[in-house]
């Protein structure tokens, strides 16, 4: 991978720091009136998700990280790995529990997910912002209560539990915001 100098550090650039792949979040140029210039850099460790803050001498370099984001289709899990497929090449990728993380509760077969590959292996799984899932279990709603704005828990086909309005019933498909875990609407028909 090429090396990148501090003046090439831009948000989103993927670099190696202390042997870990990181994504640059912020890069601030700092210089006293005379003398040595520095770059104060915020990076997200792509493995742990932690944010690191580091100071570099201006002109210092970091090696680029072999990290790229690809869209893959979720296939199945064998309990140890969650398998994704590139729909154009049929190539398979197995993501471990660390890589899948919180995305597990939004995994639906044939749905597309953004997979971050590091040296060719899945490092992180990001679900689409909105996903449509079937309700497998919820208490019966009360008729005529649609205007009250009350809510109740509902279990989805993936195992996720979200709060839905009282008029929503078992078997219905709803649209959920995966970033907040909140009900958005009934799924669009057809």
């Amino acid at each position: 991978m090429p090396n990148f100098s501090t003046n090439e550090f831009k948000p989103g650039l993927k670099v190696m720091l202390d042997g870990e792949p990181c994504s640059i979040l912020e890069n601030e140029f700092v210089k006293p009136g005379k003398g040595q210039a520095f770059n104060r850099v915020k990076l997200r460790n792509l493995k742990s998700g932690r944010v690191w803050e580091r100071t570099f001498k201006s002109g210092d370099t970091l090696e680029g990280a072999d990290v790229m984001d690809v869209d893959l289709e979720y296939s199945y899990t064998d309990g140890e790995f969650w398998h994704f497929m590139d729909p154009s090449t049929y190539e398979q990728y197995g993501a471990d529990r660390d890589a899948v993380g919180d995305a597990e509760k939004w995994l639906k077969e044939q749905e597309r997910y953004e997979i971050t590959l590091y040296n060719g292996s899945p490092l992180a799984v990001t679900p689409p912002n909105f996903i449509e899932l079937e309700i497998t279990e919820t208490d019966p709603g009360l008729k005529g209560d649609t205007a009250q704005g009350g809510s109740k828990p509902a279990t989805l086909s993936t195992g996720a539990v979200v709060r839905v309005p009282l008029f929503i019933t078992e078997g219905e498909v709803i649209r959920v915001d995966t970033r907040t875990g909140e009900y958005v609407s009934r799924a669009s028909k057809g």
């Binding site: 210089k31 006293p32 210039a37 100071t55």
Partner: protein, 323 residues
């Protein structure tokens, strides 16, 4: 579609015109002469902390010319020629200095007062800030006292050693986490100044830091203060923002030549290209630079402070990314 619009709101550009008029009136009232000097010169500064833009002219000239990093050398030649008190508002250029508070092309106000020392010039800077920003009063902090007060570090201790004392490393690590390796003593002081001290000055109003370590003299003269040799230099901070850099000027030609050569040696050591020494500046110094003090002040930063904005892009018509 291309991003063609100005980076600064038009109302701020209006304020910029007001500020420029105000600065010119300030100096006109004090009988300081406005001058213009070349932006492209055959020589440039060898200061290892500054990277110049070389410009290659087609054909006639074999060597590049350099966009000025400040008008200092040309203005000193005017001083040696007997111009008296002079000021200039001009563009200056420094490669790689891009960020929220830096633009590689920026506007500099530089002025010289004949017969003054840096203490007298600090007072005039404070008066200018009072006129522009409405600031009241100012503080003067010797560099050493500031480090002792805020970091409990004596920057002048073991002055002969080039090694970074362990106590400095531990202060930096406590406050910043990991710090860059292979910093020399002055670069380490720069790290502490820019990362640990400057942010603290935010609530202090107008602050002059003076009496710098002699290794950071640049082209300032050296004097003895309280048993230490110090550089007769000041940096002016407003709300923690570095705004101006002033000197009681080194007028001795021999010392100047030594300083410029030493800068080139430091460039070589850091594997930076050496710079042609300005022989015309040296000749002017041999003829005799009058006793004087000079200061350079960032006009874009001054305007940002006046308008209370946190980014130079908001006061520059087309900031670096869209220039």
């Amino acid at each position: 579609m291309s991003d063609w619009r100005p980076s600064a709101p038009l109302v701020n550009l209006n304020e910029r015109a007001v500020l420029l008029a105000q600065l010119r009136a300030f100096f006109s009232d004090r009988a300081v002469l406005e001058v213009e000097t070349p932006v492209l010169s055959q020589a440039t500064v060898p200061d290892p902390g500054i990277e110049v833009f070389p410009v290659h002219a087609a054909g006639s000239e074999a060597t590049p010319r350099y966009l000025q990093t400040s008008p200092e050398f040309a203005m000193k030649r005017l001083l040696a020629a007997g111009a008296g008190d002079i000021y200039q508002i001009s563009k200056a250029f420094r490669q790689g200095e891009a960020g929220r508070h830096h633009n590689p092309e920026f506007t500099l106000l530089e002025w010289y007062r004949v017969g003054w020392d840096h203490a007298a010039l600090m007072r005039e800077v404070a008066e200018l800030l009072s006129a522009v920003l409405g600031s009241k009063g100012w503080q003067v902090w010797p560099y050493r006292a500031l480090f002792i007060e805020l970091l409990d570090i004596d920057p002048m201790a073991d002055g002969d050693s080039s090694a970074v004392p362990e106590s400095w490393l531990s202060v930096a690590r406590t406050r910043l986490g990991d710090v860059p390796q292979d910093l020399d003593r002055d670069a380490f002081l720069d790290l502490l100044m820019s990362h640990c001290i400057e942010p603290t000055l935010e609530g202090w109003g107008v602050v002059f830091v003076t009496d710098f370590p002699p290794s950071q003299a640049a082209l300032a003269r050296k004097t003895r203060v309280a048993g230490h040799t110090v550089a007769a230099r000041f940096e002016c901070y407003v709300q923690g923002r570095e705004l101006a850099n002033g000197y009681w000027e080194q007028s001795d030609a021999l010392s100047l030549a030594e300083q410029l050569e030493a800068d080139n040696v430091r460039r070589k050591y850091r594997q930076l290209p050496e710079r042609p020494i300005d022989q015309r500046l040296l000749a002017a110094h041999e003829q005799g630079l009058p006793e004087c003090a000079g200061v350079a002040l960032g006009v874009d930063r001054l305007l940002a402070l006046k308008l209370g904005v946190d980014s130079l892009a908001e006061v520059i018509s087309f900031a670096w990314p869209v220039a």
